[in-house]
């Protein structure tokens, strides 16, 4: 090998350094959808073969999806589906970056709200409005996956972010499970407390789960349905009377929560409920499988904390349509990914998923055989409000607004808590 002079060696190192600097100084972004994503066009068609990466956050549903994957592979020989699962918080924070390249998440799920919006803006979804799958869904539950005229995602799950109730404890205490107004709700809590149980187990130490109660509390208090979007835009303020009234109602709940509620993580809160020490778990129906796993044998129903004084509220409950299924526009195997989504959306398979995971689905004509789902099915017909907290697109704003309720439970006055939250909202207008 011929010799290289020191000057040449330095020139190579210099060129490398210059290249690195130049590369570093290239503008961010670079294409509408980096990694090849090209916006909402229908998924490409072709043979249903090859590997499909399915990205989602439901680790607890892994075994159920594994079974569905087996059935899918039996139907389409030569296709493999691998689940790429993150925790819900990590998925919320990182999925967009991971999926942009298309090597992960040929098919994927997103949360309703900020994540769906960001995925839409990044052009990661394909257009599903003409797909076979969309015809299987209840029309009224598809809006969470729409952007203008486009149907970018299919909200798969229907969950009720409302307190779950231990029906046995309610019966024993003689407490009414469907309180008609706020006084009746507090009266119900009082009866439960008198019976020696903690009325409400609330995971105040867990921002994500603790915040679900907010959906119920705000539903009938707010003057408009898009209250959280308007708070974020500065059209409504959390220092407004209606919001302060809601915070005062949170204050009313303090005697009925477990001691040190703001320091309670979700697992201990679930334990209090599943062990029969607490009559309600203020998270949502998505925790039914978890509490059954912890040994809860009692019948479970839902309770809507009706915040009205006269019982004439607009809503009788709260629901969320989430786990929004989509096909990645950067995927190199869109045909198989779309076929997987079609497969999940067939009533038989959606029914299997629902009954095994104890969660309702948005797919029509599903037969619920799971006793918990059967018991809660009437809630599908009630006038429920679409969970408001997911209207927030800015997570700092959402956390600040919800933290005002936690602060009130910690002992801060509603006015002070609201002012602190409004300050953060104002900074982000």
């Amino acid at each position: 090998m011929s010799q290289i002079s020191r000057r040449q060696a330095m020139a190579v190192l210099g060129a490398l350094g210059f290249g690195a600097t130049a590369a570093a100084c290239a503008g961010p972004g670079g294409s509408t959808a980096p990694g090849g994503a090209s916006g909402p066009a229908a998924p490409s068609t072709g043979a249903v073969t090859g590997k499909v990466s399915f990205a989602h956050w439901r680790g607890e549903d892994k075994a159920v999806f594994d079974e569905l994957i087996k059935r899918f592979a039996a139907k389409h020989s030569g296709v493999e589906v691998a689940q790429d699962i993150s925790t819900s918080n990590d998925y919320n924070a990182q999925a967009l970056q991971k999926l942009r390249g298309g090597s992960i998440g040929d098919a994927f799920a997103t949360f309703r709200g900020a994540q769906f919006k960001n995925f839409t803006e990044a052009g990661i979804y394909t257009e599903l409005k003409d797909s076979q799958a969309v015809k299987n869904y209840q029309k009224g539950l598809l809006s969470a996956g729409q952007n203008g005229d486009s149907q970018l995602g299919l909200p798969y799950q229907v969950v009720f972010p409302m307190p779950m109730a231990n029906v046995d404890l309610f019966d024993k205490a003689g407490a009414e499970i469907a309180p008609k107004n706020w006084d009746a709700f507090l009266g119900m809590c009082e009866k439960l407390a008198s019976a020696g149980v903690i009325p409400i187990s609330w995971p105040g130490g867990d921002v994500g789960n603790g915040g679900q109660l907010f959906n119920c509390m705000i539903a009938n208090n707010a003057p408009v349905d898009d209250m959280c979007a308007q708070i974020e835009q500065g059209k409504l303020k959390v220092t407004d009377d209606w919001f302060i009234k809601m915070l005062n109602q949170y204050k009313d709940l303090v005697p009925y929560l477990q001691p040190n509620a703001t320091g309670t993580a979700v697992e201990p809160a679930q334990n209090l409920f599943s062990q029969g020490k607490a009559a309600m778990l203020a998270t949502g129906s998505y925790h039914i499988a978890a509490v059954r796993g912890l040994g809860a044998k009692f019948p479970i129903d839902l309770v809507f904390p009706n915040t009205t004084s006269d019982g004439k509220g607009k809503y009788e409950g709260a629901y969320n349509a989430t786990f929004i299924l989509g096909v990645n526009s950067a995927s190199k195997n869109q045909a198989a990914a779309a076929a997987w989504i079609d497969f999940l959306s067939e009533p038989e398979n959606a029914g299997y998923y629902a009954n095994q995971t104890a969660q309702h689905v948005s797919v029509d004509k599903v037969e619920y055989t799971n006793p918990d789902l059967k018991r809660l099915s009437p809630w599908l017909q009630k006038k429920t409000a679409l969970a408001a907290r997911f209207q927030f697109n800015n997570l700092d704003v959402r956390n600040a607004v919800e933290a005002s309720a936690t602060a009130v439970i910690s002992g801060t006055s509603p006015e002070q808590a609201a002012a602190a939250a409004q300050k953060i909202v104002d900074e982000r207008l």
Partner: protein
């Protein structure tokens, strides 16, 4: 590739350094290496350039944009992100305050605690070695495991701390649920986690102190405190320097411990700079998060430098 063998030319007497042959002598210096050897660090340089230099430079560039992390469109906003962090973002200033408080608490507590442990366990007896191993044990655990262990300890309903207190008739607390105290409880966890590691650094420093100094001090009538003040402390100053610097950086970057113990996102009383930056990235504000990262970097450098100067752990000029 050939390497020059140097000037020890076999069978020849060295030439006298006349002006005419000086250049020749220099070329044949025994320290001379083949220039091709300069290319040997190339892979390492490439790795550092690609994974360290480039992202750092990119951070500086992103910091002056309003890029959201995924779109092609962005605007250059000058220093607006930096101004926003200090003047219009109470979440950032709150995280900064929390972080400085956390660093101060942990640096003081961890330095003192690890030095005390080291002083007690500096002898190489069997008991000391066993105890050193025990105190060092938390260091080998992953921070996520540590977070889960302490999350259980602090749980107000089923946790170890309140259960123990209950058995002696004392009402437990809310720990992480109490915004005024939460940071202190996480600091306790951090000190428990890393004191063993710092103890080892101190033990190495203590064992290097000549025994004769203590013997001489004893003969002069110096008591234990005087011996510590005049011999031990000056001799462990280099170890203290390492402990303080390492603990500072570690406390600034207690990201995984905070996220594990307080959840994601942590509530504002437990939000520190690294978790705030993560939340800002997750909130699709890449430009702003990059600016926060640069402030974070500068803050660590500044605090470390100040500590070394204030504690006089580094002689002037070093």
């Amino acid at each position: 590739m050939s390497i020059h063998p140097g000037t020890a030319a076999k069978g020849k007497a060295p030439e006298s350094p006349t002006p005419a042959n000086t250049a020749k002598v220099r070329r044949r210096s025994p320290t001379r290496v083949n220039p091709a050897l300069y290319l040997f660090p190339l892979p390492a340089v490439a790795v550092v350039a690609f994974f360290l230099v480039m992202p750092t430079l990119q951070a500086f560039q992103y910091a002056i944009t309003d890029w959201n992390g995924f779109s092609a469109a962005f605007n250059y906003v000058g220093l607006d992100n930096f101004i926003r962090a200090f003047t219009k973002d109470s979440l950032f200033t709150n995280a900064l305050t929390n972080n400085l408080k956390f660093v101060l608490l942990v640096v003081i507590a961890q330095t003192i605690f690890s030095l005390i442990l080291a002083l007690l366990l500096t002898k190489n007896s069997r008991g000391s070695i066993l105890l050193r191993a025990l105190f060092f044990f938390p260091t080998i655990l992953s921070s996520v495991s540590v977070a889960f262990i302490w999350k259980f300890i602090y749980d107000p309903n089923f946790g170890l701390a309140n259960t123990v207190l209950k058995t002696v008739g004392v009402d437990g607390g809310s720990y992480l649920g109490n915004d005024a105290q939460a940071l202190y409880w996480v600091a306790v966890t951090q000190v428990w986690f890393h004191s063993g590691q710092m103890m080892v650094v101190y033990i190495a420093g203590l064992q290097a102190i000549p025994r004769e100094l203590y013997e001489a001090a004893e003969m002069d009538g110096a008591n234990k405190w005087q011996q510590f003040k005049s011999i031990t402390w000056p001799f462990v100053a280099p170890a203290t320097s390492i402990v303080v610097a390492y603990t500072t950086v570690q406390s600034f970057k207690a990201f995984d411990l905070i996220l594990g113990i307080a959840g994601n996102p942590p509530k504002s009383s437990l939000d520190i700079l690294s978790t705030r930056i993560y939340s800002t990235f997750a909130n699709s504000e890449f430009g702003y998060a990059a600016a926060q990262s640069i402030i974070f970097m500068a803050m660590i450098a500044l605090v470390t430098w100040l500590q070394r100067r204030l504690l006089r752990l580094t002689p002037k000029g070093e």
